[in-house]
């Protein structure tokens, strides 16, 4: 009696709120329901078409549409991180860049004599031995300071050698005795520029101080290069021992270098120049360095409104071995940039007026997902040794310097000092040169990993230079001009200026157009989505809702059906066991008959929390229960609801 009202209630519920719709009993039912009700095109046709071929055709068409959508959308996604470039040219008052000017010769040779006399003597001796060159007129000073007396040991340690190629023996500059070359010989087959008759090459040998069998012989295609390289090597050793203050004293002062200065139609003087000591080029002077916070700008383009300087290049005071060309070096750069004058400086000639026209271009790249560049250089694991803003060049040099300090124990002279390190010289680090050359070779072969670590900067300013040269001063004006300039230079200089000691330089903006090249993302999210929408709409007239629908039907519902099947099977198996033990077979058979394997029909109860949680139902609970809430009634499934009587009607027909 207690069970009867409960059964009644469930029966009534079943009648009034039937389980239908997406809770379709089988997968095929679900698909059918989906196809009839979905908004995507094509699917409906699969179901409603008449004829197997037609149906197959529509299945194929729908699938290919899906494929096309996927392909096109993948392509859209792949092109998402592309950048478009916009170039804007604007006319404005441009800030004048910093202009750094150096004499090619770093230090006054006359002042350097005391440090270099030993080395020069050695070099001249080498020239005499190898080429029979004797400088009759200039006498090598005998007065060798105590300071440098130990240097000669090192010259003997790394002498210039004359290498006879085939025999692999070298003639020592000092002893004159032949010695067998041990170890590896670099550039053995070196010179294409090796004259036919004399097969000997000049070079030098560097050995590992700890392991004397490890030697590398450096040879050069031309004796000129060999001597210069050898000289530079020793020169750097000597210079590394001189303190910075002394070096600044030895080099040119602003008054020495700059005779006249004219900017934007106004006169300027040495106060507009900032001294900057470059290890290889001595004292350089930067015009408009922005040190005092103001950056000059030009009012108009054209050579008259730029920087005009006359430089005094004292050719007589040049170091003959270190530099072989005469003139000055200039570089145009941003105030925050480090001037890499030895790398990309432009040389200017003496006895000529060099006018350099500039075009300003500013470029900006998009960083991370678009291209591999860095905004500030903070994300690069290389310490910036230069006190300036990041650039690729700075990173490479810093990286090399770091490697140098790590593996050789001292820093290379041409680059700034890292904290706690000091410049190499062979008093303290007798091994450094071998180490340096080895390291440099590694660097060039990209084995140090610097090229991989260092990234390009995202934004950079660039001044494109156009150079033209004219004879200066003209023959007619030469006389008075030299006189006036000599008078300007004052009493300090007691000799008359020569025109080959002067260089006239003009740096100016050709026009005040700024070219700004910037990258912008070619695709925004809005464009991407609208393109997606276009593709979906084109092939299937699908929208985001239909995508959700697909997910719902194909993943959630299908899965639930499959799971329910499994659950039924498990339950059947469980029932079978129960039956076998308690002998209640007929009831189970009844259930089965009721609706083959339709889970809806098989289920006595509606889906409840317990079924959803797949908990085993208490089979023969004698107590009446309140019916659990039926969630599936919320679903809309009109098509199925009315189809059922239809099909029944047909069946009767």
């Amino acid at each position: 009696a207690a069970t009867a009202p409960g059964k009644k209630i469930t029966a009534r519920l079943k009648r009034t709120l039937p389980v239908r719709g997406p809770q379709a009993p089988t997968l095929s039912e679900l698909m059918r329901w989906y196809c009839l009700n979905t908004n995507t095109h094509g699917c409906r046709r699969i179901v409603v078409s008449r004829g197997r071929l037609r149906r197959l055709l529509w299945i194929l068409l729908t699938l290919s549409a899906v494929g096309l959508i996927l392909w096109q959308c993948a392509e859209l996604l792949m092109n998402y991180y592309s950048a478009s470039v916009s170039v804007t040219v604007q006319f404005q008052k441009l800030p004048f860049p910093a202009v750094t000017i150096c004499n090619i010769n770093p230090y006054k040779y006359s002042a350097m004599k005391e440090y270099l006399s030993e080395l020069d003597k050695e070099t001249k001796k080498a020239l005499e031995t190898f080429y029979g060159f004797s400088e009759g007129k200039s006498k090598v000073r005998r007065s060798v300071d105590d300071w440098n007396s130990t240097g000669s040991d090192f010259f003997q340690q790394i002498p210039l050698l004359k290498v006879e190629d085939f025999s692999r023996t070298a003639t020592d500059l000092h002893s004159g005795q032949k010695r067998k070359i041990e170890g590896s010989v670099f550039h053995k087959d070196s010179s294409i520029v090796n004259s036919g008759d004399s097969n000997d090459i000049i070079g030098f040998q560097l050995c590992d101080a700890n392991n004397s069998s490890e030697c590398a012989l450096y040879t050069f295609s031309s004796g000129v290069n060999a001597i210069q390289e050898w000289y530079k090597l020793h020169y750097m050793n000597i210079m590394a021992q001189i303190p910075l203050e002394t070096k600044e004293q030895l080099s040119y002062s602003a008054e020495d270098l700059i005779l006249t200065c004219f900017f934007d139609g106004l006169s300027c003087d040495k106060r507009h120049f900032t001294r900057f000591h470059h290890p290889l080029h001595g004292n350089c002077y930067t015009f408009n360095s922005g040190e005092n916070g103001t950056i000059l700008s030009t009012s108009t383009g054209g050579s008259e409104y730029g920087l005009q300087v006359v430089l005094y290049i004292d050719e007589a005071d040049y170091n003959p071995f270190l530099v072989t060309s005469t003139g000055a070096k200039i570089i145009v750069h941003d105030q925050n940039e480090y001037p890499f004058i030895e790398d990309i400086g432009t040389e200017i000639e003496t006895a000529a007026a060099t006018s350099i026209g500039m075009h300003f271009t500013q470029s900006r790249k998009l960083s991370k997902p678009y291209s591999d560049c860095t905004e500030t250089g903070d994300d690069i694991p290389v310490e910036n040794l230069y006190n300036k803003s990041y650039s690729l060049q700075i990173c490479l040099h810093s990286c090399f310097q770091k490697a140098m300090v790590d593996s050789c124990g001292c820093a290379q002279y041409a680059q700034p000092l890292p904290a706690g390190a000091e410049y190499c010289n062979y008093k303290k680090n007798p091994n450094w040169m071998y180490c340096y050359y080895r390291l440099h070779e590694k660097f060039v072969k990209e084995q140090l990993g610097c090229q991989q670590i260092c990234k390009d900067a995202c934004s950079f300013k660039e001044w494109a230079l156009t150079t033209s040269i004219a004879q200066w001063p003209s023959i007619v004006s030469e006389d008075w001009m030299l006189r006036v300039l000599s008078w300007d230079k004052g009493q300090k200089l007691n000799k008359k200026l020569n025109k080959t000691d002067l260089a006239n330089l003009m740096v100016f903006y050709k026009d005040l157009n700024e070219r700004f090249i910037s990258e912008n993302p070619a695709n925004t999210l809005v464009i991407l989505l609208s393109n997606f929408g276009g593709q979906l709409g084109l092939w299937m007239s699908c929208s985001v809702v239909c995508v959700i629908e697909i997910v719902e039907v194909f993943f959630i519902d299908s899965l639930s059906i499959v799971m329910r099947r499994q659950w039924q099977k498990a339950k059947k198996w469980w029932n079978g066991r129960q039956r076998r033990s308690s002998g209640k077979a007929p009831q189970a058979r009844d259930l089965e008959r009721q609706g083959h394997d339709n889970p809806v029909c098989i289920d006595e109860e509606l889906p409840t929390f317990t079924t959803a949680l797949r908990l085993p139902l208490p089979q023969d609970s004698p107590l009446p229960r309140t019916p659990p809430p039926n969630y599936s009634t919320l679903r809309l499934d009109t098509a199925f609801a009315e189809q059922l009587p239809d099909t029944l009607e047909l069946g009767q027909h």
């Binding site: 095929s28 095109h41 094509g42 409906r44 179901v47 409603v48 197997r52 071929l53 037609r54 068409l61 549409a65 096109q72 859209l76 950048a83 470039v85 020239l127 080429y131 060159f133 400088e135 070196s190 294409i192 004259s195 004399s198 295609s221 031309s222 000129v224 290069n225 007589a316 170091n319 070096k329 790398d343 990309i344 432009t346 040389e347 006895a351 291209s371 690729l392 060049q393 440099h440 660097f443 060039v444 990209e446 494109a464 150079t467 080959t500 393109n531 997606f532 593709q535 709409g537 084109l538 007239s541 009109t638 098509a639 009315e642 189809q643 239809d646 099909t647 029944l648 047909l650 069946g651």
Partner: protein, 682 residues
């Protein structure tokens, strides 16, 4: 409920509708094109039907108007230029260096000599003797200096001369002795006889030496005769003579009331008609052009393949020192060729495959540094007036056209050349004509290198030359076959033909510019240079001494004969310009889809539905015709026609019954129909 899959086996392959009405109803109810359903559903309401028809047509019109715009834009193939910055390590470009010193090939040296004389005569004729005096002198020295055969023979005679001189010196010595003896005679008469004897002896010696002189003179004459005979034989064998028909003239014409005079030479076609003057406002240009014209005629005498190895000037003679990235260049790294105007040329890193030439770092120390010889001695004075070295920076595997893109290097100067690479990538295809490596170009490339526009233009022009003038321009290579270079011995009118053709090329009347597309991928090198004096006064001595010793540089210690060139990357960043389609297929489809969705809410599949409808309609119409034909043959089947009339009233039942004798399964069809009805009602 009948499970449909159960009887799918019995379903026909294709099933057709019973009637057009059924078909349309099915279509309207099942189609996915928005609006059509409304159209059908509101069939009872005329107002609504008209409204929906109008709406449908309007949106249809909008859609196709938009499509039209879109396709017009797409088929115009617009491109956008995108610029990007690359900073990957790259190869150093190829560098070609020429010494501006063309050979005087032995084969044609005689003609060149004559040409120099002719030039001197012309200048005398035009500007008077004074103007050409220097040239005479120069030419005279040139003639001697460069005619090597004569030179060699002269060497022998000079040796003889030397001997004669020696004899003369002996004679003088004897004379002096005689004088001493004479004085002695005066002092001591006894010694007269003895000294007389000595005098006789010395006389005999004099006679002997005289005979020797005569002997050597005879030898000189003999050798001269030999040389003459040889050159004559050579001239005869080639059958080429310098023509005097093209002499330089002063042409004056009256323009704007003032007399203008210009200098030029006359060119006529083979019959002597259609003459024109190739004139220049400056006499210098005229002389240079005239000289080059003759020079080309002479050079065409040379066999097509000159055995350069015979004239091989080792690179050491031009490049004294070559360093890249601080290391000496390798011997295998250069190609040598001879340019008729620019002389011996060497291309460094021409292949661009050796990893030695990768650029790792920007800056002068990591670039290419050359010390070059820039001698001015043996130049042909009227061929090029510039002195120094010609340098060109170009891509790998590319024929360097020095006359177009080369630049000069001043002697006595260190030039630092900073380069920056620009890359241009063109899309090609529909987006503009371009070619990757010469594929699909109608012009056969005569140069054995990768495709460049310049090479193609030259090849095209050469083809025109061969077609119009019957011979090839001697600056450009010849195609395989029997073609020959032009010279006015064989083709007296080629100059006329050439200049006419060249003018046509310049005014774009030859199809060369159309036939030669741009290459799809191009590297351009932007160059900026700085100069400094080199070697400096202080270092000059030792530098020259070192070069003298190592490279056999033998010259007076003048720095004007040396040049130093450093070529380096200013930055490894390169600007790449890419063409990209403004409207790619992808985007076109997307925007088409958006339009479609916007106006119709339909898709490609809807279009296919319409197509299916049309196909169905066609088949149905055919079937109806077939049935009617059969019906006329046989008495008509009454039930089918009756049913058809019923259809409008009660669609379902009629449709169900309208068999029309088609093979189909009623259950299935109806099932589908039923479901569609539900949708309609919904």
């Amino acid at each position: 409920m009948e499970p449909p899959r159960g009887e799918a086996r019995q379903e026909g392959l294709i099933e057709f509708y019973g009637s057009f009405r059924e078909m349309f109803e099915f279509f309207c109810k099942n189609t996915t094109i928005h609006g059509t359903i409304r159209l059908v559903c509101s069939s009872s309401n005329r107002m609504k039907t008209a409204f929906w028809t109008l709406l449908l047509l309007a949106s249809f019109g909008m859609l196709y108007w938009q499509f039209g715009l879109m396709f017009r834009q797409f088929w115009a193939y617009p491109v956008v230029l995108t610029m990007s910055m690359h900073s990957e390590p790259k190869m150093f470009p190829a560098v070609t260096v020429c010494n501006l010193h063309p050979y005087r090939f032995e084969l044609v040296s005689e003609h060149l000599e004559q040409l120099d004389q002719m030039a001197a005569e012309s200048i005398t004729f035009l500007y008077g003797i004074n103007a050409s005096a220097w040239l005479f002198r120069v030419n005279a020295s040139k003639i001697h200096g460069n005619n090597r055969k004569i030179h060699g023979n002269n060497e022998k005679t000079r040796n003889k001369d030397g001997k004669i001189h020696e004899n003369d010196r002996k004679i003088h010595e004897n004379d002096r002795k005689i004088r001493i003896k004479d004085r002695k005679i005066r002092v001591n008469a006894r010694k007269i006889r003895r000294s007389d004897r000595k005098i006789q002896e010395s006389d005999r010696k004099i006679q002997e030496s005289d005979r020797k002189i005569q002997d050597s003179d005879r030898k000189i004459q003999e050798s001269d005769r030999k040389i003459h005979a040889q050159t004559l034989a050579k001239l005869n064998s080639s059958g080429f003579k310098l023509s005097h028909n093209f002499s330089l003239l002063r042409v004056s014409d009256l323009r704007a009331g003032r007399k203008h005079s210009s200098v030029g030479f006359r060119l006529c076609n083979s019959t002597g008609g259609n003459c024109f003057y190739k004139t220049f406002s400056s006499g210098m240009d005229a002389i240079l052009e005239w000289y080059r014209f003759h020079y080309m005629n002479i050079m065409s005498q040379l066999p097509a393949i000159i055995n350069i190895s015979q004239h091989e000037e080792p690179i050491e003679d031009v490049v004294y020192s070559c360093q890249y990235n601080g290391e000496p260049c390798r011997p295998s790294d250069y190609d040598h060729f001879h340019h008729p105007v620019f002389g011996s040329c060497y291309t460094l890193n021409s292949k661009g495959t050796d990893p030695f030439w990768t650029a790792t770092k920007p800056g002068i120390p990591y670039g290419l540094s050359l010390i070059l010889r820039a001698e001015q001695k043996e130049h042909i004075p009227l061929l090029s007036t510039a002195a120094g070295v010609k340098v060109m920076i170009h891509s790998h595997n590319q024929t360097p056209f020095l006359e177009h893109e080369g630049f000069h290097i001043r002697p006595g100067i260190a030039t630092t050349i900073g380069i920056q690479q620009d890359e241009v990538n063109r899309l090609g295809g529909n987006y503009g004509k371009c070619t990757t490596n010469g594929a699909g170009v109608a012009v056969e490339l005569l140069y054995n290198s990768s495709y460049t526009l310049q090479a193609c233009l030259h090849s095209c022009f050469q083809r025109w030359m061969l077609r119009e003038c019957g011979c090839g321009y001697s600056r450009y290579p010849l195609p395989a076959g029997r073609a020959r270079h032009c010279d006015y011995g064989a083709h007296p009118a080629w100059g006329h033909c050439f200049y006419q053709l060249y003018r046509r090329l310049r005014s774009h009347r030859l199809d060369c510019f159309q036939q030669c597309p741009k290459p799809c991928r191009e590297s351009l090198y932007k160059v900026s240079a700085g100069t400094a004096k080199w070697p400096s006064a202080k270092s000059q001595d030792w530098v020259l001494q070192a070069l003298r010793h190592q490279n056999g540089y033998n010259s007076s210690s003048s720095r004007k004969e040396l040049a130093k060139v450093s070529i380096f990357y200013r930055q490894l960043r390169s600007q790449a310009l890419h063409e990209a389609p403004l409207l790619s297929e992808n985007l076109l489809l997307s925007s088409m889809g958006s339009q479609w969705s916007l106006w119709f809410g339909s898709s490609v599949l809807s279009v296919l539905e319409v197509l299916e409808l049309l196909a169905d309609a066609l088949v149905l119409a055919l079937l109806c015709c077939f049935r009617r034909l059969r019906a006329t043959g046989r008495p008509p089947a009454p039930e089918s026609s009756g049913e058809r009339q019923e259809e409008p009233r009660e669609g379902q039942q009629g449709a169900q019954g309208s068999g029309m004798g088609l093979p189909r399964h009623p259950e299935l069809e109806l099932e589908g129909f039923g479901s569609s009805r539900e949708l309609g009602r919904e």
